[in-house]
């Protein structure tokens, strides 16, 4: 195809909003190859894609080393570090054609890594998964069985279980009120980027520091006069030893990649340009992670190695990152100062970095795969924001990331942009272009609000609060010594629709047939709305307490039973203190409760207040009977509750006041419960795919919902089709919430029309909307901008729409990778005209 012909084709695609075809034509040959080389790792309908297989190499290596160390006198933390080091030293590694960056948790590109030491129930899922066992199936099932049998009773969860309150544990494991399992090695691990990624040090420097710490401690404990104060040093020296084992293993595996790149260059590769690239890879991997990076390629490679090793140590469900901030200085040096890279070459590197992140995968339990359809975990990368002194932090790499994202069109990582009033117009235009081209990201975060929020809830000092990144989908977390949170257990995630369900059943859960909530009495005896609300508050506190107790327990005992020597080794507070990074006493804390299925409560309470107590159209007895029958035989009544009770998102104080009241009760309670660091537990309404995952778990509700209906799509978003008064009304409803003190953050989905937002006029319309959003003090908004016609076509011919992306909830996914029910749910979302 000639250059003018190619250009005409690109314009044609863009005119028809077929951004994915235009991207294919625009990106470099290298990026096109690497983009198409990705094996899709997100589960579709809870199952991994054809050809994606569980990796058996790591489990076999880890098990053989564990057996070897069984009678070793080493403390557990040292044994664990040796197991992981053995895996890194002996696993298969690979370098993809045309790649400039290397490193993957699995042994081969189509494999997903399985940690057999995490949880026995996870290993059972590996064994029973019909699609992901590699060939030959019979032989490999035997291997899985042997590995599973060895670790049975020895996994992290097996060790932790006896410590939990049995009653709480049964309620959590029932799957009705929470999402996740409390494990230190299974969650969303923040990183102390201020220690690790500012160019001041790398692995060898940390090893040297730890060596000194051990030497000092050793001298103290061998003093002639034994002192009580020296007792803790013995354990610290064990932790430090384990940290060194991990860091040295990290340096060794990088050198293995260097060696492989050299072998390929010297023995196999005939193209001179590719030979040079391979030798550059070798040079890069000799340098990092042992020593600080010197250029953009080394900086990105350093980041990949850190993530790879961290995800070998633990199952990480998120990727907290601020890539433009920490890699930006190297981009500036290479592209603007030394001019060793052209912008196009830099975009190739940045685009590949996105692709490397997109292909990361660790075997996750089915509830996670169903809750996060189409992706492995929420890699929400934070762009923009401010520096520690409050000045604008956006740089050329901020723009480069967004340009690269439009070329490679991965759904994960996804970006969230920290908006503030001084963001330049050129950056806003890049954000708009990403949204307009249907990426579903960046989401917009109101930086001044969220900095104040971090200071309010967790007392982070302002300069630390300004470093914040998304710890998972939504919650801010500093990247500082005492501010960063080493794990966030998904288990403090509440299926809040159950609060309302339990008001009407006095805490009995019909789906799992057990008493889960509080006994709040027979709702038929409630004579006014205040009694209903009082019961609601009691159920809310009961559910939240169950989850918080479990997570607190895991956080307290985790460091001893299930340590994280690698994450400790890259965290200043652990290198300094000799304590495991999850030890609460050295952390400020940054906990929150994710509140799935929140708005169902608001609409349901409003419906009860209006139709039962204000209009007196129905009695509580009639409502309870209809709910108990799942509305069967009461369709007219159900439609009444759907249509004739006020709904959230329409700037109607009747229901909006209920939202604020509920949030403030939760906020009050958030300050009564404590995390092990002594800090608060604010709530954060958002959903991931919980609205689909819980559809068959949550029963009928007074908002007119039946068992099996999809729940609302997330956070404080109005129910699909229930926001009737336009986008400004939605914003005005949301603005009645105090986004600093009423909770941790509040997810808002909005769907916009691609045709309305064309051209300069479209940009100005969107910018005005953002201005209103910011002025109203709302902390979050995210957009879908794909029309119904495209989505319906994608349902009919998915093979032609592989790179169409939609915003699901706190993450984006390729539309063809999510379930039909979720697809229909997204199509039902109201398209707002600005």
């Amino acid at each position: 195809m000639s250059a003018p012909e190619m250009k005409k084709t690109i314009l044609d695609f863009e005119k028809n909003f077929e951004w994915w075809w235009a991207a294919e034509k625009k990106r470099s040959k290298r990026l096109d190859y690497l983009r198409k080389a990705i094996w899709k790792k997100g589960a579709i309908g809870g199952l991994y894609a054809p050809g994606v297989k569980v990796d058996l190499e790591r489990p076999v290596l880890q098990t053989e080393k564990a057996k070897e160390l069984e009678f070793s006198p080493d403390p557990y933390v040292v044994k664990f570090a040796k197991m992981i080091a053995h895996c890194l030293d002996n696993k298969t590694i690979f370098i993809t054609d045309h790649a400039q960056l290397v490193g993957y948790t699995g042994s081969l590109p189509n494999t997903i890594s399985w940690d057999p030491s995490a949880a026995s129930i996870l290993s059972e899922e590996v064994y029973n998964d019909p699609t992901s066992t590699p060939e030959p199936v019979d032989k490999n099932l035997k291997i899985i069985e042997e590995v599973k049998a060895y670790w049975s009773g020895k996994t992290d969860l097996d060790k932790m279980m006896p410590h939990f309150d049995f009653d709480d544990l049964m309620k959590i494991l029932s799957g009705s009120i929470s999402w996740g399992i409390p494990l230190t090695r299974g969650g969303y691990s923040g990183k102390d980027y201020e220690y690790l990624m500012t160019g001041k040090r790398a692995f060898q420097d940390i090893i040297d520091q730890i060596d000194k710490n051990i030497e000092d401690a050793d001298q103290k404990v061998h003093q002639p006069t034994a002192k009580r104060e020296f007792f803790p040093l013995y354990e610290k020296m064990n932790n430090w030893e384990a940290m060194i084992i991990m860091l040295e293993a990290g340096i060794r595996i990088a050198k293995r990649y260097a060696r492989l790149a050299k072998i390929i260059a010297e023995n196999f590769e005939t193209d001179p340009k590719r030979k040079q690239e391979l030798l550059k890879i070798a040079e890069t991997c000799e340098r990092v992670p042992a020593h600080p990076p010197r250029n953009l390629q080394e900086s990105l490679q350093y980041d990949i190695f850190i993530q790879m090793i961290s995800r070998t140590e633990a199952i990480e469900g998120a990727w907290p990152a601020r890539p433009d901030y920490y890699h930006g200085p190297y981009y500036d040096k290479d592209v603007n100062i030394d001019k060793t890279l052209t912008k196009e070459e830099a975009i190739d590197l940045v685009g590949e970095f996105l692709i490397r992140a997109a292909e990361v995968c660790q075997f996750k339990p089915k509830w996670s795969r169903e809750g996060l359809q189409g992706i492995d975990g929420t890699w929400v990368w934070t762009l923009g924001g401010v520096n520690k002194d409050g000045s604008d932090a956006c740089n050329d790499l901020t723009i480069a990331f967004m340009q690269a994202a439009r070329l490679v069109r991965v759904a994960n990582p996804t970006f969230a942009f920290r908006w503030h009033p001084r963001v330049k117009d050129e950056v806003m235009r890049e954000i708009f272009e990403c949204i307009r081209q249907g990426l579903g990201y960046p989401t917009l975060r109101n930086d001044p609000i969220l900095i104040a929020n971090a200071m309010h809830w967790h007392k982070h000092p302002i300069d630390e609060a300004r470093t914040w990144v998304h710890q998972a989908c939504m919650s801010p977390c500093p990247t500082t010594k005492h501010g960063f949170q080493p794990m966030r257990m998904a288990n403090a995630t509440a299926n809040c629709a159950k609060i309302m369900e339990y008001v009407l059943s006095s805490g009995y859960d019909k789906t799992v047939n057990m008493q889960v909530g509080a006994d709040t009495g027979d709702p038929r005896n409630f004579t006014d709305f205040e009694q209903v609300f009082e019961a609601w508050v009691k159920q809310m506190k009961t559910i939240f307490s169950i989850l918080v107790r479990a997570v607190n327990m895991a956080r307290v005992i985790g460091p001893k039973l299930t340590p994280r020597p690698f994450l400790s080794s890259i965290s200043e507070r652990s290198v300094e203190s000799g304590l495991d990074v999850c030890e609460p006493s050295i952390s400020r804390g940054n906990a929150w409760i994710t509140a799935f299925t929140w708005v169902e409560n608001i609409d349901s309470l409003a419906a009860v207040k209006k139709l039962v107590f204000d209009d007196k159209k129905y009695t509580m007895a009639e409502l309870k009977e209809a709910i108990d029958k799942n509305w069967e035989g009461n369709e007219k009544m159900r439609i009444d509750f759907v249509r004739n009770a006020p709904k959230w998102g329409n700037d109607d104080n009747y229901v909006d006041d209920i939202m604020v009241r509920c949030l403030r009760e939760a906020a009050k309670f958030s300050k009564e419960i404590e995390c092990p660091c002594g800090n608060t537990w604010p709530i954060l309404p958002e959903n991931v795919s919980g609205n689909i995952h819980y559809a068959n778990v949550v029963g009928a509700l007074p908002n007119g919902r039946r068992l099996g209906d999809a729940l609302y799509d997330g956070g404080i978003s109005p129910g699909p089709g229930l926001d009737k008064k336009g986008p400004t009304a939605v914003l005005k409803s949301c603005a009645k919430i105090d986004h600093i003190s009423d909770g941790r953050a509040f997810l808002l989905n909005q769907r916009l029309s691609p045709t309305q937002l064309e051209g300069e006029k479209g940009y100005q319309l969107w910018k005005a909307y953002i201005r209103t959003w910011a002025d109203l003090g709302i902390d979050h908004v995210q957009f879908n901008m794909v029309d119904d016609k495209t989505l319906r076509s994608a349902q009919k011919e998915p093979e032609n729409y592989q790179e169409v992306i939609v915003r699901v909830a706190g993450y984006s996914a390729h539309f063809v990778d999510i379930s039909r029910k979720t697809q229909d749910n997204i199509i039902q979302r109201t398209v707002q005209g600005l």
């Binding site: 993809t96 081969l108 590109p109 189509n110 492989l260």
Partner: protein, 54 residues
């Protein structure tokens, strides 16, 4: 005995000739790559499907 160090895919370590890497080219359904796995020089390769004499 057929051992890894006689195979064309075997590349010994400079610092320790008793160990090396088995490097092979692979083409799967989506991409082509070179993979590397650590092996002992005297590992029995008689049942290795990829063995090829140097």
């Amino acid at each position: 005995m057929t051992t890894c160090n006689h195979c064309k895919h075997y590349f010994p370590l400079d610092e320790d000739q008793t160990k090396g890497d088995c490097v092979r080219r692979v083409e799967d359904q989506r991409q082509s790559y070179y993979q590397s796995k650590p092996v002992e020089a005297n590992k029995d390769a008689s049942s290795c499907p990829f063995y090829s004499t140097k």
